[in-house]
């Protein structure tokens, strides 16, 4: 394991690769909007790896899809999304095509549905190259595609370039997706549940590959995952999302060692541990709130073991505690209370 930035590495100055400010994504009729994402702020710098963790419907994928404008047409996006200092929210389709692939590479969960079944993988990697370098001959693009397949450790890349997606295993297909994502040397890679569809031994291979690419190419990497275990070994920093908001943003060690938001604590209490016997899991009671126009108070309060009267009507904003930020009115007092979901003496 490379201990990238556990102690907060010094990042280069200049504008961050990605700077998101006050991002909000709504669906539904404007007069009665359903907010899927609210008030998200995120910053990613070169060489930095960020994990975005949350459960289904927390808004983690939507937030990142908005960076490359891949949201459904019905989504309304507000706020600011800057790539290398330049605003990309609401830019034209033509401008957008210059960004997709060239500045930001995307890796999705299911490589089978992301790849075109009727073209060879060599053609598909080649197409990604030629999209941003139309002057390149097919032959040269093909040669470059084979190099890329080698870069992502596909054995016999020249031979495999002639394979169709169905001829490859899930792990190999995901490597092809990664080759496409890095084809134009983007500064930022966004991997949305990159290993969720894969077996654990293949997952380990893909995570090693992503870590190697970050080290070799000095790119920024965002890993979206529902699995705290996956991000623990890969990223420097973690943002935890709940009900459309970032509820905690912290260096990975701080997040796991001293979680400041009750939801983060509760999530950690839900995880069975492989490396040690465990007495009992502490499930989180209840379910996440439905999308609704008006929320009063903290959206986690109905499931929270630390709930206080103030939580019912005060909407917590991110509070800085040490190197962490947590959207809890009591973030600075959380560490003294027991880590159970079923109540703490007020």
């Amino acid at each position: 394991m490379t201990a990238a930035g556990a102690a907060g590495p010094a990042f280069s100055a200049g504008p961050p690769l990605l700077e998101i400010r006050d991002l909000a994504i709504d669906f539904g009729p404007p007069e009665e909007p359903l907010p899927a994402v609210r008030g998200v702020d995120l910053t990613v710098r070169q060489g930095m790896t960020l994990g975005i963790v949350g459960e289904s419907g927390s808004g983690k994928s939507l937030s990142m899809l908005s960076v490359v404008s891949l949201l459904p047409a019905t989504a309304r996006v507000t706020g600011s999304i800057r790539l290398e200092g330049r605003e990309v929210r609401g830019i034209s389709g033509r401008e957008l095509r210059k960004i997709r692939g060239a500045k930001v590479g995307m890796i999705f969960q299911d490589p089978m549905t992301s790849l075109n079944p009727v073209f060879t993988v060599g053609d598909q990697v080649g197409e990604a190259i030629r999209t941003h370098d139309p002057g390149l001959s097919r032959r040269a693009a093909r040669a470059r595609a084979i190099e890329l397949l080698a870069d992502v450790s596909i054995p016999k890349p020249a031979e495999r370039a002639g394979s169709y997606p169905f001829e490859l295993s899930g792990g190999m297909r995901q490597r092809v997706m990664i080759a496409i994502a890095i084809a134009n040397n983007p500064a930022l890679l966004i991997a949305d549940e990159p290993t969720t569809a894969l077996d654990v031994t293949i997952q380990a291979q893909i995570l090693e590959l992503l870590k190697r690419l970050v080290d070799e190419r000095d790119v920024g990497l965002i890993v979206i995952s529902h699995d705290l275990g996956v991000v623990a070994g890969v990223v420097d920093r973690v943002a935890v999302m709940y009900a459309g908001r970032i509820v905690e943003d912290a260096p990975v060690d701080d997040l796991f060692a001293a979680p400041r938001h009750p939801y983060t604590r509760a999530l950690l209490g839900c995880l069975p541990r492989l490396d040690r016997p465990q007495a009992a899991l502490t499930p989180i009671p209840g379910a996440p709130p439905a999308l609704a126009a008006v929320h009063e108070g903290c959206s986690f309060r109905t499931r929270c073991g630390f709930r206080q009267p103030r939580c019912d009507h005060e909407d917590p904003v991110l509070m800085t505690v040490g190197r962490s930020q947590a959207a809890c009115l009591f973030a600075d007092q959380i560490d003294v209370a027991p880590a159970t979901a079923d109540g703490v003496a007020p």
């Binding site: 654990v200 275990g229 499930p283």
Partner: protein, 343 residues
């Protein structure tokens, strides 16, 4: 888990001590399941066989949780389905309390199925979308001969057992969340008070907070009702949490079995070691300090499995002998059988 840990080799000898003196309630011997496949699709047909399960033997004791772990395609789910004869085994023996399940005619099998039930992975596709929850839960009882009235009378109790509100009995599956649907599936499986529950990846489709909830429920039910679980999962952390004993499968075979403490504390088979080292641990400090065994390559085809040891193509210990002799799953006297020449 507090239930007694049972050291039992998969061999027929059963030196049982302690509270579970009666011996296994379910024995599986040399289970084989092959699926014919047609390759090529054109006029030239080549008949091939996928060797999904290739000679699996194990015992399940009353009230214990046996975890069956492995990656996709290792045959763990097929094994579970063979036990209920949801797929017909190609050969082998499956005995439930001395009754040979494989020789039973449909009517006899139905009577025995009362004792063996299954919960499936996907709570969306395993519940009939156009039937009310109460009818879904009551159906096994009706199949087993109960009157509809008597069966429906049991539904509120079963719903409470899985912590569902009986007031919602007349609703349809789509009105429930994924976790709640899995509870419906569990209530249905429990309706006949089975002695054995096959749980086929019961929490794999669920979010972690819901997963913890269902795992706690399963744990609680197991302790209260003393049902034996065959818990099939690819998730080692989940299996560690629940299982008393564990069998690890690779490409249709069990490569190692033992108590949970043996498997997780002293894994002997190289595949078990690799599997454990590949599984992520939610702790960055632990992750950084880990010596990870990253296996090369992928699982070979189950149509033409490697000769000798099936793991040898990915194994860092492989020698010539591994390609020639298939290592037997032998107990070296410690109740922790391993199928490896170098264990």
């Amino acid at each position: 888990m507090t239930s007694p840990v049972v050291d039992q080799t998969p061999g027929p000898a059963g030196g049982q001590a302690g509270t579970l003196a009666a011996g296994p309630i379910l024995s599986v011997r040399d289970l084989v399941k092959s699926f014919p496949v047609r390759r090529g699709g054109g006029p030239v047909r080549s008949r091939q066989v996928v060797h999904a399960v290739s000679g699996v033997s194990f015992d399940l004791f009353a009230g214990e949780v046996l975890g069956l772990v492995g990656e996709s395609g290792c045959g763990k789910s097929t094994t579970g389905r063979c036990i209920l004869r949801l797929v017909e085994p190609t050969s082998g023996e499956i005995t439930y309390r001395g009754e040979d399940l494989l020789s039973k005619r449909p009517g006899e099998l139905r009577a025995l199925r009362r004792h063996l039930q299954i919960v499936f992975q996907d709570p969306y596709s395993s519940l009939h979308p156009r039937r009310r929850v109460r009818d879904i839960i009551a159906e096994p009882m009706i199949v087993q001969g109960a009157s509809s009235r008597a069966a429906l009378a049991e539904v509120p109790r079963l719903m409470r057992t899985v912590q569902l509100d009986p007031a919602r009995a007349a609703r349809y599956p789509h009105e429930f969340s994924g976790g709640q649907r899995q509870r419906i599936g569990i209530a249905r499986a429990l309706s006949l008070s089975p002695e054995i529950l096959v749980l086929d990846e019961p929490v794999s489709a669920l979010d972690v907070s819901v997963q913890a909830d269902i795992l706690s429920l399963l744990e609680d039910l197991q302790q209260r009702l003393q049902i034996a679980y065959l818990f099939i999962s690819h998730n080692l952390s989940v299996v560690r949490h629940l299982a008393d004993r564990v069998a690890v499968m690779y490409l249709g075979k069990i490569v190692e079995t033992g108590t949970a403490a043996d498997i997780f504390g002293r894994p002997s088979h190289p595949y078990t070691q690799a599997l454990l080292s590949a599984a992520p641990i939610p702790d960055p400090a632990v992750e950084r300090g880990r010596e990870r065994i990253v296996l090369g390559g992928e699982v070979p085809s189950a149509i033409e499995p490697p000769s000798g040891c099936r793991f040898r193509t990915r194994c860092w210990k492989a020698q010539e002998i591994c390609g020639q002799d298939e290592p037997a799953l032998v107990d070296r006297g410690d109740g922790h059988p391993v199928a490896c020449h170098f264990a």
